[in-house]
Amino acid sequence: MAEQLIRLTDVGKNYRKGREAVRVLDGINLGIDKGDFVGLMGPSGSGKTTLLNLLGGLDKPSQGTIEVDGKVVSALSQGALAKWRSGNIGFVFQFYNLLPVLSAARNVALPLLLTSLPASRRKQHVNTALRLVGLAERASHYPRELSGGQEQRVAIARAIVSDPPILLCDEPTGDLDRSTADEIMALLQQLNRDYGKTIVMVTHDPRAASYAHRVLHLDKGELGAAQQ
């Protein structure tokens, strides 16, 4: 039996909208094994991004606990959470979120500034990550000089450069055409299969979801298995 990496117990999340609290997630119980590739689908506004943010320690649940690799991350302080994120989570966003003022290589190198690796080692890691996503020859290009698919590859290289065990992807193909989306999905699949990354991916696209081992459905803040 596979080892459980992520464990959500009775997780809920409220947002304050003026005076009233809006319940975005309610009673989420979820276990994700190491090496799993989970698709997360659901209508717009159903709380998918919120759930992903909680998993990644960008936000804290209003109730319940989140454990990752035996550690209760929902109890960590902001500072400890920042450190934990940099070592454990790689984020991939729909709109890439690269810094426009940095070249591809420097964008990829960004997370390594938080490590104590010497410059030469950092450079090695950056090269490896860029090669893995097939963009080694674009290292010195700026985001504005890259296509959407290439930008997303750089973002994926940035997400894996410090070798975190978990990748969280929020609609990674949402802004891409079909064939580019397929390439990105193949890349994520490779990272899952060959490099053992545990992936949770939000998507609207059934085609993208088909790459996942299993698909969860989120509706009005509650989780159910996908009706397949």
Binding site: L58, D59, L102, A119
Partner: protein
């Protein structure tokens, strides 16, 4: 790639804007430095102790009216007087340059009263030995390119010679520095005997007396004593400290200086506001990116430091360069106009500290509010902002 790269690249986010900001900082602190130079020149704050203690006695009606030469011995006899000497406004100009200060004086008396005049013994001897000789402050010599041994013609707007000419020639026998507040540094001194003998009118009269007390009675008492001595005579006197006269004289220019200061200060302030606004704008533009950095694990503290350092990097080097340029400019002006600005234009430690404080104020005042506001938002809100 290191943190400096990140700061540097962020700073050049919009190169034109960065250059514009740097240019504005350059202009602000260049003007600021000139302003400080002007302000200090007009404030006469460093007149020196001697000028506070020497008394100047002029005609009661006006500084330009003459006093009898005979007053000298009467002042010298008054109780509390240590030494007394006299000078007269000569009103000469060199070629087409503006008028500057020249005094016919009794050399030994004048030099002993004005100990801040730093004239070498060699020059002093040479001057004493030459009836037509003169000594001159270094700023004047520098401006007109005079050297010891030169013979220079000065055209007086007041004094004609017995032969009808108003051009007087002097041999430059020495150049001196003024170790005091600069009151004497812009003058040319020549022999009273030579002047007295050659002038066509006014013989036996002088412009004003300079007196030093021996400390036995307070200055106030000494001033009153001198003026009492000549009360009810045809030429009544008014005595005050040399510093007070200088201040009064400077006040007419001081008003101009004040207006110039106000105008420049307004300009500096306006450019500072615009610069600050631009810098604040540049931080506000990257709210979303701050969210990305925090997602990657950068702490609020490190983002704060990166942003503040970027602001300082933008302002401090250019600001300091501008002050250096301004200082150079002040030196050039002083060099060119030594005779008119005997005290010179300079800035002090206070000006440098004030300049640096202004630079810090602009940087922190424009960068801190937006960055603090951004760092108070949680990551989710930062990422959701566009």
């Amino acid at each position: 790639m290191n943190r400096f790269t990140l700061i540097w690249r962020n700073m050049w986010r919009k190169p034109v804007r960065t250059l514009f900001t740097m240019l504005a900082v350059l202009v602000v602190f260049f003007l600021f430095t000139l302003l400080e130079g002007l302000r200090l020149a007009f404030s006469l704050s460093d007149l020196g102790a001697e000028a506070q203690e020497r008394l100047l006695t002029s005609h009661k009606v006006s500084l330009i009216m003459m006093l009898p030469e005979a007053y000298q011995s009467r002042i010298a006899r008054l109780p509390g007087v240590d030494a007394v000497s006299h000078s007269t406004w000569f009103g000469g100009r060199y070629q087409d340059h503006p008028e500057f200060a020249q005094y016919p004086v009794v050399a030994e008396e004048y030099l002993s009263l004005n100990a801040e005049i730093d004239l070498s013994e060699e020059y002093r001897q040479a001057w004493l030995a030459n009836r037509g000789g003169a000594v001159v402050g270094r700023p004047v010599a520098n401006q007109y390119g005079w050297q010891v041994g030169d013979r220079v013609p000065l055209k007086s707007s007041i004094w004609t010679r017995a032969n009808g000419s108003n051009v007087w020639e002097f041999d430059i026998e020495g150049i001196f520095d003024d170790s005091g507040g600069g009151m004497n540094s812009g003058v040319l001194l020549f022999h009273y005997d030579y002047f007295e003998e050659a002038r066509a009118w006014g013989k036996g009269t002088v412009g004003w007396y300079v007196t030093r007390g021996d400390g036995s009675i307070p200055l106030e008492g000494l001033m009153a004593g001198i003026d009492a001595e000549f009360a009810n005579s045809p030429a009544e006197t008014k005595t005050n400290t040399e510093a007070a006269f200088a201040q009064e004289y400077a006040r007419q220019f001081g008003n101009i200086g004040f207006i110039v200061t106000l105008i420049l200060a307004a300009v500096v302030f306006m450019i500072m506001l615009v610069t600050g606004h631009t810098m604040a704008q540049s931080v506000r533009e990257r709210i979303h990116e701050i969210g990305v950095l925090k997602t990657l694990g950068f702490t609020s503290g490190s983002i704060f430091r990166l942003t503040v350092l970027e602001g300082l990097l933008l302002v401090l080097p250019v600001g300091l360069l501008a002050m250096l340029l301004g200082w150079g400019m002040l030196n050039v002006v002083t060099e060119r106009m030594g005779a008119m600005l005997p005290g010179g234009l300079k800035i002090g430690t206070y000006s440098v500290v004030l300049g640096l404080s202004l630079m810090l104020a602009i940087t922190l005042g424009s960068v801190l509010p937006p960055v603090i506001r951004a760092l108070r938002l949680d990551i989710v809100a930062l990422l959701r902002s566009s």
